[in-house]
């Protein structure tokens, strides 16, 4: 899995590209730890996440908790219907504000 960061105005957009499972989770978690700004705004773009396992979903929740600690607002975008269904069934979805696209997420966060 590759992490790709870009700034869209005040919003840090981080794309998670590839498979997020227990093999890649520790590296992704460490990478996100470094990329998430303090008191900022983050959008996690999952549109090119091809697989998300149980350990992968936990990484998202850990980032959410990290953002809470840092005073950073966080949203996710580009969640596939399948991942969304899994997140809904396990209650993980309730923690996140979900945007349909990166543009929409940036707009909401920057507003």
């Amino acid at each position: 899995m590759e992490l790709e960061k870009q700034m869209r105005g005040p919003v840090t957009v981080i794309a998670l590209n590839g498979e997020l499972d227990s093999t890649t989770a520790p590296k992704v978690q460490q990478g996100l730890d470094e990329l998430v700004p303090v008191h900022g705004m983050v959008l996690l773009d999952l549109s090119r996440t091809t697989y998300m396992s149980s350990a992968g979903l936990r990484v998202l929740l850990l980032v959410y908790r990290l953002c809470q600690q840092l005073g950073t607002r966080v949203m996710v975008s580009g969640i596939s219907d399948e991942v969304k269904a899994v997140m809904a069934a396990t209650g993980f979805l309730a923690f996140f504000t979900v945007a349909g696209s990166v543009d929409e997420g940036v707009e909401v966060l920057a507003a």
Partner: protein, 702 residues
């Protein structure tokens, strides 16, 4: 990332089968993630050697087989930490070496790869009825964000229990949920449960079982029947994957936890129906899945010649009071109470839990004593099905330690017989209404879980629609199921369009519901009974994974009046502490208006208990911080109506009508708090009907 291990023991000392390993930690039992790897711990008193078998997820052949070296054995516990494996990507099992000497109780078989009794996930039945793969142990990720959730600890006397099958509750297309037949699907129905007013849901088995484990065929369709109910546990520590929408991702534990969390937020407790009386391994002809191969003579009650005692009716009997098995059961319940925040347990065929290894009933069974006194389980409701298939019937005498309630089978039988009009039942009904003090003297009404129907037997609708069971679809020639249901079809067997029969059935349903929901003790009802669910006369639907069993939600519209009636009756119970007593009623308390219970008849204060009267008229009264609470109940099971004189009330207080089951739909019940005032001091109770009144301040305008 740092290259230095996190802990002093986080590096291998040995290499076995290509893996870095070291002597593990014996506790906790099972497989647990530790820094750098996974710790495996399994015990067997009789084994002479043990091998850990690792698989990649879904692979046919093992990835590696790791023999436990002697220095990794502590007592009878084999433990090993394996480094560099990914908990999410593997499955595992054990081979146990030892003698195969059935007459001595030993059935070791190294050819079998055994399930870990402590496995927190099982793989192999990842979706309900899906492809049949070998069952293997897996490792659940056990972190979960509970936020501030905890057990609800509702007072027992306030409970209204709703018994449901997770799959059957939302599998029918009419349920209109996004994830039918699953824990997540149940979450979607929480608003319905709240509106109904129940505050505890009792889930039929959710521990991993094999729904494909049934050899019988549907006689009409020729299809293989299922083990739909699941009273045949394979994995005691693992939520069933096939009941989870996320089972194929191995996230059933997360989904289960979220269900509990959401139910708790709605004020609803979660009680699990747990089956510790036997396992899915059957008798000597059954499959060797786990226990038989690990320590047959420890886990099972064996005859002197090494066969299986069968007090459960399913082939084997778990040896519950063996010290090791006691520990296993306790560990399991602690797991569900602490990891899953479960609020209580209902023990299937619980009389077995009080038997000694040779089957003799124990006066002070160590297992039950341990459960009753356990610190982690302290706030859990413990409910016993106080009988077994070996003839031990302990309703009223179950070793309870003031902790166990009981499914009160006598309540069920008495209420059924009274309502269908049997002679000479009124006196016993009076006792059942008070939480059965004859059975539970010195305990409390909450020792009695009152029910008219349960998963086992007729639905409430079928109880008033069938004289006989109709179990042909179970493939046993209608020989299975209870033959003595005390049911009455009201004049026609099964479906009918006879208006008078249908009207009588509607009335009988309401009579049963009202008696259940006005009785002292803990009422329990079955999912769907509130809107007339039918199993078309089948009283043993354990194998029917189809629309015979599934809750058909269209009936909520068809029988909207019955649903409204049930909701009102639950709300009425909630509004009246006199119906939710924490202790058996005593006489007059010196203050207040009345004794805590009094009996009446055609003349107030003068009951007539003679056999042919078929009438019970009771007044429940409680004087507490809430003020005076006074409810009058008259149940007439006779085919003639009766005029009853009502007990007089203090000035400014009058009787108001909550329910009269003889009134046509729409007028049978009034909203609690909005009951209309009655005029006069007498009421007419129609044949086969029940009236409930409440004493309230007279209307201001009078």
């Amino acid at each position: 990332m740092s290259r230095t291990p996190e802990r002093l023991d986080a590096f291998p000392t040995h290499h076995i089968a290509g893996f870095g390993v070291r002597a593990g930690r014996p506790l906790p039992f099972g497989a647990s993630r530790v820094p750098g790897g996974v710790n495996f711990s399994v015990y067997s008193a009789g084994a002479t050697g043990m091998t850990l078998v690792l698989y990649r997820r879904d692979a046919v052949e093992p990835l590696a087989e790791l023999d436990f070296p002697p220095e990794f054995v502590t007592g009878a516990v084999y433990s090993m930490t394996v480094f560099g494996i990914d908990a999410e990507a593997i499955e595992y099992g054990y081979r146990a070496d030892g003698p195969f000497e059935p007459e001595a109780g030993h059935r070791f078989d190294r050819q079998q790869v055994l399930l870990d009794p402590y496995a927190t996930l099982l793989h192999g039945r990842d979706s309900w009825g899906g492809q049949r793969r070998p069952l293997r142990s897996g490792i659940a990720l056990d972190d979960f964000d509970w936020e501030d959730d905890r057990q609800l600890r509702l007072p027992s006397q306030d409970l209204v229990i709703y018994e449901a099958h997770v799959r059957g509750f939302t599998r029918h297309p009419s349920s209109k949920v996004g994830e039918p037949g699953t824990f997540a699907g149940l979450v979607e129905k929480i608003p319905y449960l709240k509106e109904l007013g129940v505050n505890a849901i009792e889930l039929m088995p959710v521990f991993e079982f094999d729904e494909l484990d049934n050899d019988r065929l549907d006689p009409d369709r020729g299809e293989q029947l299922r083990n739909y109910w699941g009273y045949s546990t394979v994995g005691f520590f693992s939520p069933k994957a096939g009941l989870a929408a996320t089972g194929r991702l191995g996230m059933q534990a997360d989904e289960f936890k979220n269900m509990v969390k959401q139910l708790h937020r709605a004020g609803i407790e979660v009680i699990l129906d747990v089956v510790f009386n036997h396992t899915a391994e059957g008798n000597e002809l059954g499959p060797t899945l786990s226990f038989r191969g690990l320590d047959n003579s420890v886990y099972y009650m064996l005859t002197p010649d090494g066969y299986y005692y069968n007090f459960s009716g399913t082939g084997n009997t778990l040896n519950c009071n063996h010290p090791v098995v006691r520990g296993f059961v306790l560990d399991c319940l602690r797991h569900w109470a602490s990891q899953f925040h479960v609020d209580g347990f209902r023990f299937d065929l619980a009389a077995i839990l009080g038997r000694a290894p040779d089957g003799a009933p124990l006066p002070n069974p160590p297992l039950l004593e341990s459960l009753a006194a356990d610190p982690i389980l302290r706030d859990c409701k413990l409910i016993a099905e106080a009988w077994d298939a070996g003839g031990l019937y302990q309703v009223g005498s179950f070793p309870n330690y003031h902790r166990f309630s009981e499914w009160n089978g006598k309540f069920r039988d008495t209420v059924r017989r009274f309502v269908k009009g049997d002679e000479g039942v009124a006196g016993e009904l009076a006792t059942r209404l008070l939480g059965s003090p004859d059975l539970y003297a010195g305990r409390a009404p909450t020792a009695s879980v009152n029910f008219v129907t349960a998963h086992d037997g007729f639905t409430l609708h079928d109880l008033v629609s069938y004289n006989e069971k109709h179990n042909d679809a179970n493939g046993e020639g209608n020989r299975d199921g209870d033959n003595d249901s005390a049911s009455w079809n009201c004049g026609a067997e099964g479906e009918t369009d006879d208006e008078s029969v249908l009207a009588l059935r509607a009335r009988q349903l309401r009579n049963l519901l009202l008696l259940l929901l006005t009785s002292h003790g803990i009422p329990m009802m079955v999912a769907g009974d509130e809107f007339g669910r039918t199993q078309r006369g089948n009283n043993n639907a354990y194998c029917q994974d189809n629309d015979l069993s599934w809750v058909d939600w269209r009936l909520a519209d068809t029988n909207a009046d019955l649903l409204r009636f049930t909701r009102a009756a639950i709300a009425f119970r909630k509004a009246h502490p006199a119906l939710r007593r924490a202790s058996h009623p005593r006489g007059h308390q010196g203050t207040g208006w009345f004794p805590e219970v009094s009996w009446h008849g055609e003349q107030a204060w003068t009951p007539d208990w003679s056999a042919g009267r078929r009438l019970v008229a009771a007044m429940f009264y409680e004087h507490g911080p809430h003020g005076h609470d006074c409810v009058y109940l008259a149940a007439n099971a006779h085919w003639d109506g009766r005029e009853l004189e009502l007990p007089g009330l203090p000035d400014g207080v009058a009787w108001h009508l909550f329910a009269d089951t003889a009134q046509p739909d729409g007028n049978d019940v009034h909203q609690p708090g909005a009951e209309p005032q009655l005029t006069g001091d007498r009421i007419w109770v129609e044949p086969r009907s029940t009236v409930v009144l409440v004493a309230k301040q007279t209307d201001v305008e009078e």
